[in-house]
């Protein structure tokens, strides 16, 4: 039973890393948002499983928040935003999926190499979760720097937050208050970013952030 519990936790956390790679691979807006919903779904399953094996009922609430807010509300809002911005059919010119994937694998290797030695005293579950969570966070950062579209950058940012939740639940003992406030700050960030997107769009008639560089007088 114990071994099986560990294996399932491992499988879900690995699935989250895989979903991060799927985010990197997607180049269509709708596909990207659906993949993000999948990402959040995996995170909520992972948290619920942690709640079950750690017998920590408050983690079920975290899982429910992840499920409702990030797997349903935010993807639906993003779908509406991209329809309003009329970019739901755009195919984003992702430069070099191959290179991005290789860089991603390098980041996963890096986080495994960093995390496993420094958490030598912690329990097995916490160590693996921390290694996976660090990879998810780094992959989200990679996604933010490799994309040009502002909406994809928002999605990269939200996937980082999913990685943080995974780290926090694996490490046993994040208070519920912190979790709720994090969830709400993410929602508020979404609203702010949404308004911001419309502002960029009003001024430049595109959400390609390279136009911002030109506006500041930098060379593209």
């Amino acid at each position: 039973m114990d071994q099986l519990a560990l294996d399932v936790a491992h499988l879900l956390a690995g699935g989250l890393v895989l979903a991060s790679f799927m985010l990197l691979y997607q180049d269509r807006m709708t596909g990207l948002i659906n993949t993000f919903a999948l990402h959040a779904l995996v995170v909520s399953f992972s948290v619920a499983w942690q709640a079950y094996i750690q017998q920590a009922p408050h983690l079920y609430i975290t899982a429910a928040i992840a499920l409702i807010v990030k797997a349903l509300v935010i993807p639906l809002a993003l779908h509406r935003i991209i329809v309003r911005l009329d970019i739901h059919r755009t195919i984003e010119p992702v430069v070099g999926i191959g290179q991005t994937m290789l860089a991603g694998i390098g980041l996963v290797a890096l986080s495994v190499m960093v995390m496993l030695p420094i958490t030598a005293q912690a329990g097995t579950l916490a160590r693996e979760d921390l290694a996976f969570a660090l990879s998810v966070i780094l992959l989200g950062l990679l996604m933010m720097i490799s994309r040009r579209n502002a909406v994809s950058q928002v999605i990269g940012f939200m996937s980082i937050e999913n990685g943080l939740i995974l780290a926090a639940t694996g490490a046993k003992g994040m208070p519920l208050v912190v979790e709720i406030s994090v969830a709400f700050s993410i929602l508020i960030a979404l609203i702010v970013i949404g308004i911001f997107l419309f502002r960029i769009r009003e001024r430049f008639e595109t959400v390609d952030i390279h136009v911002l560089h030109e506006h500041r007088g930098e060379q593209p």
């Binding site: 071994q3 099986l4 560990l6 294996d7 399932v8 491992h10 499988l11 956390a13 690995g14 699935g15 890393v17 895989l18 790679f21 691979y25 999926i97 191959g98 994937m101 290789l102 991603g104 694998i105 996963v108 290797a109 495994v112 496993l116 097995t124 160590r127 693996e128 290694a131 996976f132």
Partner: protein, 318 residues
């Protein structure tokens, strides 16, 4: 006496593989046609096609060299050997010492090499396009396949298919994320290698999209029959590898007697039918991708292989 019996079983397996391969392809075609609400050719149509091709006269291009004539036999032979080595209804047969996954990858690689050479031999532009595309696919698919093999053999402690299947049934494996990644990677490689739909369309002769068909455009008669049979065998081989490694339950073990073999054969047929059905559904719901997207698709397979090996080291620490 025991050796003779083992040899008989092994020979039986080789013949069963050869006999079932066209049936599997015919079955996939039939299911696909039914999904599109068409009647579809009968299940035995691939056998009839092969017979008809064998009876026909061989037409050779004027500038075809000896290589062009030799290649079909070599392609068929290497593919058949590879397919016969994979455990189908029983593991631990007498040749299973040689059923090394790396050897199987190498056999398939040499078959592909011969096919690409034959495509270039006559000097038509189609053959050249087909060969160059095939090599592009191979340069990504083979490393991906090898990464999957490394993952499996690190887990099982052996590269032999029989021992991998045995250790997959054992208690020490459990539910592992690496295995799931390896399975997805292997399926992607199998789709690309067998020229199935998202990568190549086996049913079309539209020149912009074809890879496999472009290379064999100049072949006719028994040469074409051999190449077709080799491609049927390749499909069966990949399905058998996936079934043997990831769904090893119900396979007979050598020396259990006739009953176990017959039961293993029935279960193997059921696995083939399920896999063929899934392949047909998958091919029906998905659209073919552009040739330049293939490298992304296979790059993802390679990435899954890398990731599977990498994550193995995380879980090894436990």
């Amino acid at each position: 006496m025991a050796v003779a019996l083992d040899l008989t079983v092994q020979l039986g397996q080789m013949l069963i593989v050869l006999a079932l391969a066209p049936l599997l392809t015919g079955y996939v075609r039939k299911v696909k046609a039914r999904l599109l609400r068409r009647q579809g050719p009968p299940l035995l149509q691939p056998y009839r096609d092969l017979l008809r091709l064998v009876r026909k006269e061989v037409v050779l291009a004027q500038n075809a060299s000896w290589l062009f004539r030799v290649a079909p036999y070599l392609i068929f032979a290497t593919t058949w050997v590879a397919a016969a080595l994979v455990p189908t209804f029983a593991t631990g047969l007498i040749f299973s010492q040689a059923a090394d996954m790396i050897a199987i990858v190498a056999l398939l690689g040499s078959a592909r090499f011969m096919l690409a050479l034959a495509g270039l031999d006559v000097g038509t532009s189609f053959g050249g396009i087909g060969s160059s595309r095939e090599m592009m696919i191979a340069s990504l698919a083979e490393p991906a396949m090898l990464m999957v093999v490394f993952t499996l053999s690190l887990l099982a402690g052996s590269t032999q298919l029989s021992s991998i299947a045995a250790s997959m049934q054992g208690p020490g494996i459990g539910l592992r994320v690496s295995l799931a990644l390896a399975l997805v990677g292997l399926i992607m490689v199998a789709i690309a290698e067998n020229a199935r739909i998202p990568v190549d369309n086996p049913a079309t002769h539209l020149e912009l999209t074809m890879v496999h068909e472009a290379m064999i455009l100049e072949y006719s008669g028994r040469h074409l029959a051999l190449i077709e049979a080799a491609s049927f065998l390749k499909l069966l081989l990949y399905v058998s590898v996936i079934a043997c490694v990831f769904v090893p339950w119900g396979t007979a073990v050598s020396g259990q007697g006739l009953d176990a073999y017959v039961a293993g054969l029935g279960i193997y047929a059921a696995k083939l039918a399920a896999a063929g059905c899934m392949l047909a559904v998958f091919e029906t719901v998905i659209a073919k991708m552009r040739v330049f997207r293939v490298s992304d698709f296979l790059g993802a397979a390679l990435m899954l292989g890398f990731l599977a090996t990498l994550l193995l080291f995380v879980s090894r620490v436990t």
